[in-house]
Amino acid sequence: MNPDPQTGKLAASRRLPQAGDLAPHASALAPAPSPQPRFCFPPFRYRHATRPFAKPMFSADLLAANLLSPMVLAFALGMVAMSLRSDLEIPASMHSAMSIFLLLAIGLKGGKAIALSDPSTLVIPILVTIAAGIVVTLLAYAALRRLVGLSTVDAAAVAAHYGSVSAVTFIAARDVAERVLGPTEGLLVALVVALEIPAIVVGLWLGQRKGGGRLWVSLREVLTGRTMMLLGGGLLIGVLAGPERAARVEPLFVGLFDGVLMLFLLDLGMAAARRLRDVRRVGVRLVAFAMLMPVVAGTLGVFVAHGIGFSAASSAVFGAMLASASYIAAPAAVRLGLPEANPSLYLTAALGMTFPFNLAIGIPIYLAAARWLAS
């Protein structure tokens, strides 16, 4: 995707941070770029260097910025607690309350940012996002059919999850990207909303081609589901209220956000560990898929986002969005739309494997790719 004159104009009008702008945003965790930045794997290749944090590549700084955040550590704590069979339990009602809070808060923040920008600049990113969501779903479906060897229905069900987006992966990626690479675009939240739907529609269509016609029934489930209502609704409230009026609710939705997110990830760590118990039942090829698909989709996402003129930080977050697999909206829609698909396949892969993978390893990869592209 080469930037055409139109997208070039788009980038200029939105004053996206350019490669040269990276240095002012970089925190202590991200030192100034070296004269010849390089992109390299494996991650610890340069650990022996005298100044380990001196080079902007896939190295200790990105991993540390990601892994040592309280949220990721809380997720690990949840996994450990569950594997030690601790009596720690977060009530389902509290989990619902926290997911309502987080989704509404993300929506509000995005809406506030969009209120400040020109609405016409949203069109191309949203169309690109929808196209990317469809491409990733089809890619995942082909890989699941050919390489993993799942049945049509199971492959379609899992593909719907991988084409869709996980809101928590998005938040985690945005959090790290903003600390390491600088501010991200508010419109990314609108793109999360846009990315949620197409994959589920394509996945259900792939699975239902031969059988029944429940597509619209399950589609209604997604459109009226809590993710869409809260994320889309929050976005709309943020846009309509504008930054000044929205400031009144900021003590709750901005001030408490990180703390609630940490609690939420503790709970999610326990949920992921519960799913992981099924891992032996799903087969080694699906495990490999759950680790490789995010890297493929994430790298694709970073390149696409760079191509339409996103900043390095926003490109990394967009990569993480494409890499992530939905585990709130998609499972419910797929369960109702493709009831014959095996839920332990998609739940174990999306929540038990891909989510922790992205949280620990995937996000630093997308950050490194975005930084490399921008340099």
Binding site: A92, S96, S99, A271, D278, A332, R335, E340, P343, L347
Partner: protein
């Protein structure tokens, strides 16, 4: 018959009591079926447990729901047929029924 008279005879009438335990995701659908099939009331209880399928798709709203219905035998049978047709093949759902006696049969559509 005066219901406030403590010595009035208790007029027990036979009806059927159906218990439905299903995955949380099916709640709205099942309640919709009940309304359409002429059930006059029900009780919904959040519950959790384990069965031969043993997975939960939407664990953030609670694992399962238990729905208690009292109605005439024909209505209970119609509900059971509908749920069997729709959900037995691919969903987590359990039905069991028993005969119970109630005092005010008209509340449950019986006589």
């Amino acid at each position: 018959m005066n219901p406030t008279d403590p010595n009035a005879p208790l007029n027990w009438r036979p009806v059927r009591h159906l218990t439905i335990i299903a995955e949380r995701l099916l709640k709205d659908r099942i309640l919709n079926h009940l309304d359409k099939l002429g059930v006059s009331g029900y009780t919904v209880i959040e519950s959790e447990g384990r069965g031969d399928r043993s997975f939960v798709v939407d664990e953030w709203q609670g694992d399962n729901i238990e729905i208690q219905v009292i109605a005439r035998r024909e209505v209970i049978d119609a509900v059971a047929r509908k749920l069997r047709e729709r959900y037995f093949a691919h969903h987590s759902i359990i039905l069991y029924a028993q005969d119970v006696d109630v005092l005010r049969p008209e509340k449950y559509g019986a006589q």
